[in-house]
């Protein structure tokens, strides 16, 4: 009995960890998982398996989009709170959006609006950090973005880079954090809204045929081998990985076509809108359709301290049209159920219109829209109070949002990844899955 391997635990396995396994056992952890868990020692480990969401399109609105002028209007509040716009009914009975979101109102039955998003960071970079990493900024640790975590957990699919940013890497928190930089994003470096949009260097230069290229590859291998034997460093490993990613991208026409917007019909381009919002979202759809796992795109500047009316009149309609087109296009193609669309911003804006007819930073309550990929359709989750000053019910934290998105992708956010100094870090620390918005 004493030597029966089934009952033997490694000595480093503490009671607490044992209980922990017992606990996740209740959540459907298989024996295989358990042994893998064991193999990872004290690190909390869960196998990531593709979930309902096969990919994510993250539409990020830098600057902090006002919730009042978009998803959470307060039509019955005094003018200085209500702001300059009216509200309109949507496809969800009893739910109103700002009149800036007319097209989105028509597809509201396909999306979930979370009106109780809340955190405590009122500075752009700190709020942005929250929304990209699921963590509060720490002076000691640089956390990986959600896209990098997805890249780390699942790797590439159909020869495409797993994590793409349109039109470029939007900010320093969109990177790989403490993970190897090989999980960093592929920033396009060009804007799909440009007339001559082309992602550079995807194809071999003229005169370099496939044969010659494979010869070049083997030569590169020869000249690299001496150095590779001598040196090791993360940057070196990451560079090697990017070369391999580049090889697969170059060798697959299908993969390269994902970036070719000219393959989309004019009609569809019009439907999305021939502007930054529209074309970036159209390309996002093409990319996830082709196999990219996580697309992060930005649109507009939403830091409207002054004249919020003019600001929304400038950016609102394009965003509205493109977003509605994206959701219905994905749905038409049967892709919505496997593509999680998340529209977010670093924070919302102050309840009251300020002296410059704008609104200032306000993280205490704001809205995030989720759709598809295992998220409910036609729902409003949580609410803000009458003046949009605080969450009224079901406050949604940064951790809960990230944990739910990870869960939809098939990643248990309690899993620990290894940060420098052999320091295990949960993907998200202490979030819970919001079951009410999951299908």
């Amino acid at each position: 009995m004493k030597n029966s391997p089934c009952f033997e635990f490694p000595s480093h396995f503490s009671r607490r960890e044992f209980l922990h396994v017992g606990l996740v056992g209740g959540l459907g952890l298989t024996l295989a998982d358990f042994f893998r868990f064991k193999a990872h020692g004290a690190q909390k480990y869960y196998e990531s398996r593709e979930g309902k969401a096969k990919s994510v399109i993250h539409i990020y609105l830098p600057g902090g989009m006002a919730h009042q002028e978009s998803w959470d209007p307060k039509p019955y509040s005094p003018l200085e709170y209500r702001g300059p716009f009216n509200s309109i009914p949507t496809k969800i009975p009893g739910v109103r959006f700002s009149e800036n979101f007319k097209e989105s109102a028509k597809i509201a039955d396909k999306i979930t609006v979370c009106r109780s998003m809340t955190h405590g960071e009122a500075a752009h970079e700190r709020g942005t950090h929250n929304m990209f990493t699921g963590y509060r900024p720490s002076p000691a640790t640089s956390f990986p973005s959600m896209g990098s975590v997805v890249s780390h957990e699942f790797g590439s699919r159909r020869n495409l880079p797993p994590y793409v940013c349109i039109p470029k890497v939007p900010n320093e928190f969109a990177g790989s954090g403490y993970l190897s930089s090989s999980f960093g994003p592929f920033g396009l470096g060009s804007d799909p809204a440009d007339e001559n949009f082309k992602v550079r260097d995807l194809t071999l230069p003229d005169q370099i045929c496939d044969n010659r290229f494979s010869k070049r590859k083997s030569l590169l291998n020869v000249v690299d081998s001496h150095f590779r034997k001598l040196e090791k460093s993360d940057a070196l490993g990451a560079m090697d990985k990017f070369y391999n990613d580049a090889y697969s991208l170059i060798s697959s026409e299908e993969a390269r076509n994902a970036f070719d917007l000219s393959k989309e019909s004019d009609k569809l381009k019009e439907r999305y809108g021939r502007n930054e919002a529209g074309q970036r979202m159209l390309l996002s759809r093409r990319l996830v359709e082709s196999g990219v796992r996580f697309v992060s795109m930005t649109y507009g500047g939403w830091d409207m301290h002054q004249n919020i009316q003019a600001g929304f009149e400038k950016h609102g309609p394009n965003l509205d049209k493109a977003f509605a087109a994206l959701i219905s296009d994905l749905d038409d193609r049967g892709l919505l159920d496997s593509t999680l669309v998340m529209l977010s911003s670093e924070f919302g804006r102050t309840p009251k219109i300020n002296k410059d007819n704008g609104r200032d930073h306000y993280p205490k309550v704001f809205s995030v829209v989720l759709a598809g990929g295992g998220i409910t359709r036609g729902q409003v989750y949580g609410s803000s109070d009458a003046f949009a000053t605080a969450p009224e019910d079901n406050p949604l934290s940064v951790e809960d949002l990230a944990t739910t998105v990870y869960d939809r992708l098939g990643i248990v956010a309690d899993k620990e990844l290894m940060a420098p100094g052999d320091r295990p870090m949960e993907i998200v620390d202490g979030g819970k899955v919001i079951n009410e918005i999951c299908v």
């Binding site: 002076p139 930089s181 001598l230 580049a246």
Partner: protein
């Protein structure tokens, strides 16, 4: 009776000093019952330190010591043990029958009163030792008080006991008690011959020389009456005396909101950003973040929402108190109990009427954290920290219990709420202490026990090496060897001038046989104009030199500004002068281009922040709205510093593109809390006397760029260092703060000191850095340094920065760049305007110059970079345009010669035999040029080319 005999038998056997017999007889022993008497034959007393104390420390003190006194009993001093607890005296010297301690430890483990409880009974030999010790008079060395030790710690101590102690240090080194309720804890640290430190407070004998002046209890001194005496501490053969003075021993210090109550909010976590310190408070109650606004906090507690937060009639029932102890529901939970000091502080303040402090109350001026450094050996080793606050009235207080402790690396050294540091994995940690508005920190190094290590005898080229080696010795790391000449010449060319050596440079250097050839090469490179250009580029980033229509930065201004900077650096104008010229500049942006400093950024608060970040390496942005959460800067500091920039005037010049910068001689920036301007005060320095109407910037500049400002030289020295090592001694270089300490403070201080001595001649500092052996180390790691990233024990691979990489590609392919506004063939490092870029530079992370942040230069590899080097025009077109291979073939060079040429061009070395063999055989003689160009392409794409190594 049988039982009694059995026990006697056991004790007799036990006294025979034979463990095996003991075990054999164990089954025969019959446990003692309460009330049974014990008789023992006389034996020799066991040694207290070696035999008795480990038993007490590991099995008794955790429940019967300073922190807990179960049954009212303490066993950490002899007098406590003699006094005993609820059941009477625990130890009676020489009387084994009357000593309850012995009775309890001999009870069967299932007995409710058996000690230690819960089946953790002592072993028979341990019981025997305690019995013999008491029987022989319970000898306890004078002045010794025990602390809890676990078995791991006992074993560490046992090992340490065999080592030679070279010194004993007390913290604090002098004690001053200045009120009736004042007290001061004492910490003793032994230093061993191998530089390991160990706390030995509980192993030392402590005695107050004149017990009429002060008393000693629990390692803490209390005043008795005014006078002077000393504490005498002995450990092994070391003895030290700590002067002690007492004044005001009979005077009670009145309770104060700022000095007593505010610290409780900080310590208990009430005013952190996630609780009531949040900008909008928590559950409708707001406190200023980390207490930046005590007046406001007093108001909110006593006046806001009527007076519902305080109840002066029944102070204990004030909401403030009841929430904190969890007597009423509190989102933040129970923070402390009724028995705690914090509770009595709050309640006694309320009893006295919850008063505001008088205007002239003493202010804390600084805090000290002890010990000032620690080198702990072995996981589990501990070190108690202590914090001493100094006040403006000259008094001090032990504020350890009111201090928030934090470690930046829990894995190597964690710190608990009480300031007890426990060593973990090998490595270093920085232990930080926050009290009032002050944050200080000390470095703790942890090494594994019994590491096989002998300090290597290493050659040193200059002071840099000695200081690096000292640090590596603490970490028990041996640095890598020197790099080869081929690696050195490539490295030093890339770092100093941003180009690769050509064939002649290489030959000259390799053939030179003189021992100082590396130094000579460094001197030669420092005279090249490219050295200047590299640093002009780096400073142009910090000064954000770029055209910007929104800010009114015309191309003409940009160019004039850039050329001004270039002229200064090329003429080796000392850095302090350049900075003074910038900060005090006035006049037209065309006539005096330095004034563009105030044109690039027009927001005076932003300028304040930029000056701190660029010239002092500090990010003070947070303090604009509240006390800096991770640093020492308060909101007052911020606005006092901003005050220097509150009188900058700007007006339109004759040319619409020109602005005129002048001093308005009036104008203030209000502090947002009290809406009044702050008097100008240097960041981390004094408040100067400024005559009315005097340009404040001048006074600031004279201080900023001078030895009076401790941060200026340090920051620039760190920036220089970071350029040559890929990371600063403080990293990132522009994030100097207490919680981001230098990896080698002594090194940074010395570099700063020398830089000041060199009168801020930057070239001299670069010369020191490049000549150090540390800079010239190989990238090859050894077993001891493979995990070291921060201590410069080997060279690290560094990807070439965007501009240098493009220049080097142009150099080896013999092609020319074209940038807007610059002649054909200009180098990327010469670009004046930050707005001018190209795809290559952007993809490889060139700074956009939109902010002063060092993070603008991106060095991370990416897929776009790989794609561009592989398929992009930078490599493919340039190989063709340069016609290098074509010409070499035309010149009649054979394959092997061409290969040698390409290799030396890119790698500064010839191909090795293996490489040569494989590559030569790959050449298709029918398409020779193409084959060789493919090899060239491979070289340009290779890691050995892309990285500096």
């Amino acid at each position: 009776m049988m039982r009694y005999l059995g026990f006697l038998l056991f004790l007799n056997l036990a006294s025979m000093d034979d463990a095996s017999k003991l075990e054999a007889s164990a089954s025969n022993t019959v446990p003692l019952k309460k009330g049974d008497s014990i008789q023992l034959p006389v034996t020799k007393s066991p040694d207290f330190n070696r035999e008795v104390r480990p038993i007490l420390e590991s099995s008794c003190i955790s429940c019967h010591g300073i922190n807990e006194q179960k049954g009212g009993l303490r066993l950490d001093t002899l007098s406590h043990s003699l006094r005993g607890g609820e059941s009477g005296p625990s130890i009676v010297s020489g009387e084994i029958r009357d000593s309850i301690l012995l009775e309890r430890i001999h009870l069967p483990s299932e007995d409710m009163e058996a000690m230690p409880p819960e089946g953790k009974s002592l072993s028979d030999p341990q019981k025997k030792i305690l019995s013999r010790w008491i029987e022989n008079g319970a000898n306890w060395p004078d002045g010794v008080q025990l602390k809890q030790f676990n078995s791991q710690q006992l074993s560490l101590r046992e090992k340490a006991d065999k080592k030679e102690v070279v010194s004993l240090v007390a913290y604090p080194q002098a004690i001053a008690l200045d009120a009736k309720q004042d007290f001061q804890s004492l910490i003793l640290v032994a230093k061993y011959a191998d530089d390991v430190t160990r706390e030995v407070t509980s192993e030392s004998s402590l005695k107050v020389e004149d017990s009429k002046i002060a008393s000693l209890q629990d390692f803490t001194l209390f005043p008795v009456k005014d006078g002077k005496t000393k504490v005498i501490a002995r450990f092994k053969d070391q003895k030290i005396e700590i002067p002690l003075s007492v004044r005001g021993a009979l005077e009670e210090r009145p309770i104060s909101f700022k000095l007593d109550v505010m610290p409780v909010f900080l310590k208990a976590g009430c005013n952190t950003g996630s609780c009531h310190g949040s900008a909008r408070g928590q559950d409708r109650f707001m406190l200023s973040l980390f207490g930046y606004d005590p007046e406001g906090d007093h108001h909110r507690i006593t006046r806001e929402q009527g007076t519902r937060r305080v109840n002066l009639a029944l102070p204990e029932e004030s909401m403030l108190v009841e929430k904190a102890i969890g007597a009423v529901p509190h989102t933040g939970g129970k923070l402390f109990g009724k028995e705690s000091k914090h509770w009595s502080t709050l309640v006694s303040w309320l009893r006295k009427g919850a008063l505001k402090d008088s205007e002239n109350i003493a202010k804390p001026e600084k805090i000290e954290l002890f010990p000032t450094s620690a080198l702990l050996e072995g996981a589990g080793a501990t070190q108690q920290m202590s914090v001493l606050a100094h006040y403006s009235d000259g008094t001090t207080r032990d504020v350890t219990k009111l201090t928030v402790f934090q470690s930046n690396n829990d894995l190597s050294a964690s710190v608990d709420d009480h300031g007890l540091v426990t060593a973990g994995k090998r490595g270093e940690a920085f232990i930080m202490a926050r009290f009032n508005v002050f944050t200080v920190g000390v470095q703790v190094v942890v090494i594994p026990e019994q590491l096989e290590y002998e300090r290597p005898k290493l050659p040193t080229n200059n002071y840099i090496d000695s200081l690096v080696h000292d640090k590596l010795h603490k970490l028990r790391i041996t640095p890598s060897g020197l790099c080869s000449d081929e690696v050195f010449i490539r490295r030093v060319f890339l770092d100093i001038i941003g180009l690769l050596p050509n064939q002649d440079d290489l030959n000259d250097f390799l053939e030179d046989q003189t021992p100082d050839k590396r130094s000579k090469l460094i001197d030669k490179l420092l005279e090249r104009k490219e050295f200047t250009e590299i640093w002009v580029m780096k400073f142009a980033e910090l000064l954000q030199i770029q055209t910007d229509d929104n800010q009114g930065m015309s191309y003409k201004s940009t160019l004039l500004y850039f050329n001004w900077l270039k002229d200064r650096i090329a003429n080796n104008v000392p850095m302090d002068r350049i900075v003074k010229e910038l900060l005090t500049s006035k006049g037209g942006t065309f006539v005096n281009p330095a004034t563009n400093y105030y044109q690039v950024v027009k927001d005076n608060l932003k300028i304040t922040e930029n000056v701190a970040q660029v010239f002092m390496g500090m990010r003070i942005q947070c303090a604009q709205c509240h006390n800096h959460p991770f640093d020492q800067w308060t909101q007052d500091d911020y606005y006092s510093f901003a005050s220097f920039f509150s009188q900058i005037g700007r007006k339109r010049g004759a040319d619409p593109r020109e602005s005129i910068i002048y001093s308005k001689k009036s104008g203030e920036i209000d502090h947002p809390v009290h809406k009044k301007p702050m008097p100008a005060k240097f960041l981390g320095g004094d408040a100067p006397n400024i005559p009315k109407g005097h340009d404040r910037r001048e006074i600031l500049a004279n201080w900023l760029a001078s030895p009076d400002n401790p941060f200026f030289a340090r920051n620039l020295a760190n920036v220089v260092w970071a350029h040559f090592f890929g990371q600063g001694i403080i990293e990132p270089v522009d994030d100097v703060r207490i919680s981001n300490p230098p990896s080698n403070p002594e090194l940074l201080d010395d570099l700063a000191r020398r830089f000041t001595q060199y009168e801020y001649d930057f070239k001299k500092l670069v010369r020191d850095v490049c000549n150090s052996r540390t800079y010239q180390l190989s990238t090859q790691s050894n077993l001891s340094n493979e995990d070291d990233l921060r201590n410069f024990s080997r060279a690290h691979l560094r990807r070439l920065r965007a501009e240098v990489m493009l220049d080097v590609i142009s150099q080896v392919t013999q092609t020319r760049n074209k940038f807007k506004g610059l002649p054909l063939g200009a180098k990327a490092i010469q670009i004046a305007d930050g707005k001018i870029s190209n795809y290559f530079l952007t993809t490889f992370g060139r700074a956009t110059r939109e902010t002063v942040c060092s993070c603008e230069v991106e060095m991370e590899p990416s897929l776009s970079q790989a794609l561009h080097l592989m398929n992009g025009d930078t490599t493919n077109n340039r190989i063709k345009q340069g016609k290098l291979v074509t010409e070499m073939i035309k010149d009649g060079m054979d394959d092997s010669q061409i290969l040698d040429d390409l290799y030396t061009r890119c790698y500064s070395r010839k191909p090795n035999q293996e490489e040569k063999k494989v590559l030569l055989s790959s050449i298709d003689q029918d398409a020779k040029q193409q084959s060789l160009e493919d090899i060239f392409w491979a070289l340009l794409n290779s890691k050995e080319f892309i990285f500096n190594h």
